[in-house]
């Protein structure tokens, strides 16, 4: 690099003009006070939040810059995003419906455990092994002998005699 060989002296002198650009008189007398006022007002806490959002997520700034400079691209991205959200919504709603249906089928197919039903226990029956074998969803359970066989307890004969006073 021949930086030293180049004669930039005239340019440097011209650039020195910029040293004379100063803010309005009294500006620096107030500057530190304004910084302190903002610090007292808690601006540094907001600054902290923006630091996290802005500085530590610089990819977000770059993305935002890229989008703001290209409106057509930003619009296309927005449409893509909307489409993705819509598709995801439809997909998840279908999945949710399927889950509900599966849950209903599962409830319908649910079988008691080895302990048996309270009715079986009361009648002293051994609970049937209602396990599903194979892929056949039909469960074979022994049919009760009669409708009232399932009712727990014993029937007793009852005598009824009207009171003597009624005669």
């Amino acid at each position: 690099m021949s930086a030293e060989q180049e004669n930039f002296e005239a340019l440097r002198k011209l650039l020195a003009v910029k040293r004379y650009e100063t803010p309005p008189p009294g500006y620096f007398d107030q500057f530190a006070g304004e910084v302190r006022a903002r610090l007292r007002a808690g601006d540094h806490e907001k600054e902290d939040l923006w630091r996290v959002i802005g500085d530590e997520a610089s990819w977000l700034q770059r993305l935002w810059g890229a989008l703001s400079n290209r409106p057509a691209f930003a619009g296309a991205c927005g449409m893509l995003l909307c489409g993705a959200v819509l598709t995801a919504g439809i997909h998840y709603s279908e999945v949710a419906d399927t889950d509900v249906k599966n849950q209903s089928v599962a409830e319908a197919l649910s079988v008691p455990g080895p302990a048996g039903t309270p009715a079986q226990l009361a009648l002293g029956q051994t609970p049937a092994q209602n396990t599903i074998s194979g892929t056949n969803p039909v469960i074979s359970t022994p049919a009760p002998a009669g409708l009232f066989d399932q009712i727990p307890g014993q029937a007793r004969e009852v005598n009824f005699s009207p009171a003597a006073g009624n005669q």
Partner: protein, 208 residues
């Protein structure tokens, strides 16, 4: 402009009273002493403001960014380990903030030259220099200043920064390398490139 010497918190102990005074201010500021931080701000406010102003060519933006720089520096003071001088550290914050701002602004170049107090016209040497270097004698200082700023704005952020720090503010290459987090060779090559472009933009204002 302040003559305060920059302090290096983590560096070797210095006998310089200005430096040890600065170390004390930094320690107090770390503990939340806003009065001490006020003193630190006063030491560097002019240089920080000037750097940002020459980068943005806008007084309002420079004011906001300079304030934001010192607020961020205060908030991050506890994380300042002293790997570099406090002065370089604050400068780095200012430079990063300004470059981020300029990237976002891109298509919104505004100049508020009327806000500035352009006191070069009271300096006879500067008036003579402008008369010498400007082919059109009627070109006033404000016109020259406007052209300079236009030319500066045509440079990329890093090239504008290196010209600002070296040719306007007079910082040595080594210090600029620290601020820009690059090596001295990169600073020199950027400076060369930036000056070449500026010469091209300002050819009418430079003496043959």
């Amino acid at each position: 402009m302040s003559d305060a010497k920059p302090a290096n918190v983590g560096g070797e102990p210095s006998g310089d009273p200005a430096v040890s005074d600065e170390l004390e201010l930094i320690k107090k500021s770390r503990n939340g002493d806003l009065g001490s931080y006020d003193d630190l701000v006063r030491r560097y406010q002019q240089r920080i403001y000037a750097t940002i102003y020459h980068m943005t060519s806008n007084h309002e933006d420079a004011n906001d960014l300079a304030q934001d720089t010192f607020i961020k520096a205060f908030q991050a003071l506890k994380s300042f380990k002293g790997g570099s001088s406090f002065y370089t550290w604050v400068y780095r914050i200012a430079v990063n903030k300004t470059i981020n701002f300029l990237k976002q602004r891109k298509n919104r170049v505004q100049m508020s030259l009327n806000d500035m107090d352009f006191n070069a016209e009271h300096d006879p040497d500067m008036v003579a220099l402008v008369s010498e270097n400007t082919p059109r004698r009627e070109a006033g200082l404000s016109e020259l200043q406007e052209k300079l700023n236009e030319a500066m704005q045509k440079l990329s952020e890093v090239h504008r920064l290196v010209v600002t720090l070296h040719d306007v503010q007079g910082l040595p290459h080594e210090e600029i390398a620290q601020i820009m987090d690059c090596n001295v060779g990169t600073v020199r090559s950027r400076l060369f490139y930036a000056r070449q472009h500026l010469q091209g933009y300002l050819v009418d204002y430079l003496k043959d």
